[in-house]
């Protein structure tokens, strides 16, 4: 049996490859115009992870698919495999998140999620937990939760799914239990105690309240994070930490946070 397993795997992979159509739930992450009236969409699909497809003719006002393929909505799509880019053959809107679209802050936060997912996810590979996480985050934005708290929960969830969960209970240098004082965050992947922080550079100081939020999310206590009244200063502290950490992982600066800052939504 041990000898058969790889060839069975190979055959099933081949069969999957031969399937010329597949159906999946998907979130549209970003899109780019191409050709006369077509668009290239970057999708997060439930079945195949992040993938790029062509939607033909969707820029024409009469297109039956156009309204179903707006960014940051959940759609059920039927995709035809081709030798080049796959082609969307049908699309049906599942959740449009209409309330989210009425708020500049919520919709630009969704744009930030799109950038993160496109930047961090591998192509054509399902990363467990990411699709439900992204759908849940969009739902929370749609329900009117503070986009800063939703963004924080989403960022930490995504980092965990990708294996970059930062360590927030003990110092990542000396392993000491962290005291309830202002400690620091290191892009190496977690909190550093005051003693170790003295001897190191490029650390980001974090207040006690910001550390508390990190720990709550780390323990999976999402509800309190969404419901707590958190000051703007704490959110910006956490944003600096998370954006720096993600930029380090991705190898480049994020652009959506800069745009959100430019929009002056505060």
């Amino acid at each position: 049996m041990g000898r058969d397993a790889p060839s069975e795997q190979f055959e099933s992979a081949q069969q999957q490859h031969r399937a010329r159509l597949y159906r999946s739930n998907a979130i549209i992450l970003r899109r780019r115009d191409t050709g006369e009236a077509d668009r290239i969409l970057t999708l997060l699909t439930e079945a195949h992870g992040k993938t790029r497809v062509v939607a033909k003719g969707v820029r024409r006002p009469g297109s039956r698919m156009a309204g179903h393929l707006e960014p940051f909505s959940v759609v059920q799509i039927l995709v035809a495999r081709t030798r080049g880019l796959d082609i969307v053959s049908q699309a049906e809107l599942r959740s449009a998140f209409s309330a989210m679209r009425q708020s500049e802050r919520a919709v630009s936060t969704a744009g930030y999620f799109g950038e993160l997912l496109d930047l961090l996810l591998p192509e054509e590979q399902v990363v467990d937990g990411v699709f439900p996480l992204a759908t849940a985050a969009l739902e929370l934005l749609d329900q009117g939760y503070d986009p800063r708290s939703v963004a924080f929960v989403f960022e930490m969830g995504l980092l965990r799914c990708l294996g970059y969960r930062p360590r927030v209970d003990r110092c990542i240098v000396c392993d000491a239990v962290l005291q309830p004082v202002s400690n620091a965050f290191s892009v190496e992947g977690g909190l550093v105690c005051q003693g170790c922080a003295l001897a190191r550079h490029a650390l980001i100081p974090l207040s006690v309240n910001a550390q508390k939020l990190l720990r709550l999310v780390d323990r999976g206590e999402i509800e309190p994070v969404l419901r707590l009244r958190v000051g703007a200063a704490v959110w910006s502290e956490l944003a600096v930490v998370v954006h720096t950490y993600i930029a380090r992982i991705a190898g480049r600066e994020l652009s959506a946070p800069r745009v959100i800052h430019e929009l002056r939504l505060d």
């Binding site: 992450l29 970003r30 191409t34 050709g35 006369e36 006002p61 009469g62 039956r64 156009a66 309204g67 179903h68 707006e70 960014p71 940051f72 809107l93 449009a96 209409s98 679209r101 500049e104 919709v107 630009s108 744009g111 930030y112 799109g114 950038e115 496109d118 652009s255 959506a256 800069r258 745009v259 959100i260 430019e262 929009l263």
Partner: protein, 202 residues
């Protein structure tokens, strides 16, 4: 295209240049190149001159930022246009599309894009500051925010409206709804919802 002993350097250079145009792949680029190679000298020169003139004689109007040969553009100077109303569009082609309807007699303002955080495009990369300055200067009665009815266009319209409303300017957005010749069954819920909200008495 990779240089090969079989293709002369000017040929592969043109193939490369044409291949950079939107919607043109390497095969189409080669086909166009070999067509031009066989075409008359006059035809090839006419194309080359047209491209040169495009880059040398066309620029952006300093008032509305539409493409023009004169500054201000003919439309901004036209005394018959209604100066109390400015229509904001994303691209020059959108202004052209609105002009074709024959329903609009006001002025335009071209943003050259739309706000899109996912692509790193914020208000500072668009002609929004120029629009706000222009509105202060010209004090129109109404500004129509005719950005595309999609997520980026809606976000752009919301951002501009947020700046204009405190300045006491009426802002509006073109109605969105069912396309002529369309089918209710295929309409998505957002379009159908907006169409119902914006319904009209017969």
């Amino acid at each position: 295209m990779r240089p090969s002993k079989l293709t002369a350097e000017p040929v592969s250079r043109l193939v490369d240049e044409l291949g950079r145009l939107p919607g043109i792949g390497p095969k189409s680029a080669s086909r166009l190149t070999y067509y031009l190679l066989r075409a008359s000298r006059e035809q090839a020169l006419a194309l080359a001159e047209a491209i040169l003139e495009l880059k040398e004689r066309v620029f952006l109007c300093s008032t509305c930022f539409n493409i023009t040969e004169t500054d201000p553009c003919a439309l901004c100077l036209d005394p018959t246009r209604d100066r109390s109303i400015i229509c904001v569009v994303e691209e020059p082609l959108d202004a052209l599309a609105l002009e074709r309807t024959g329903e609009y007699r006001g002025l335009y303002h071209v943003l050259h894009g739309a706000i899109s955080p996912v692509d790193g495009i914020g208000p500072d990369k668009l002609r929004i500051r120029e629009l706000l300055e222009r509105v202060e200067r010209e004090r129109p009665q109404e500004v129509i925010l005719a950005t595309n009815p999609n997520i980026e266009g809606d976000a752009t319209a919301m951002y501009i409206a947020r700046q204009l409303i405190p300045r006491g300017i009426t802002t509006s957005r073109p109605a969105s709804g069912l396309p002529v010749g369309g089918d209710l069954e295929y309409a998505d819920e957002i379009t159908l919802g907006r169409a119902l909200v914006g319904r009209r008495a017969l």
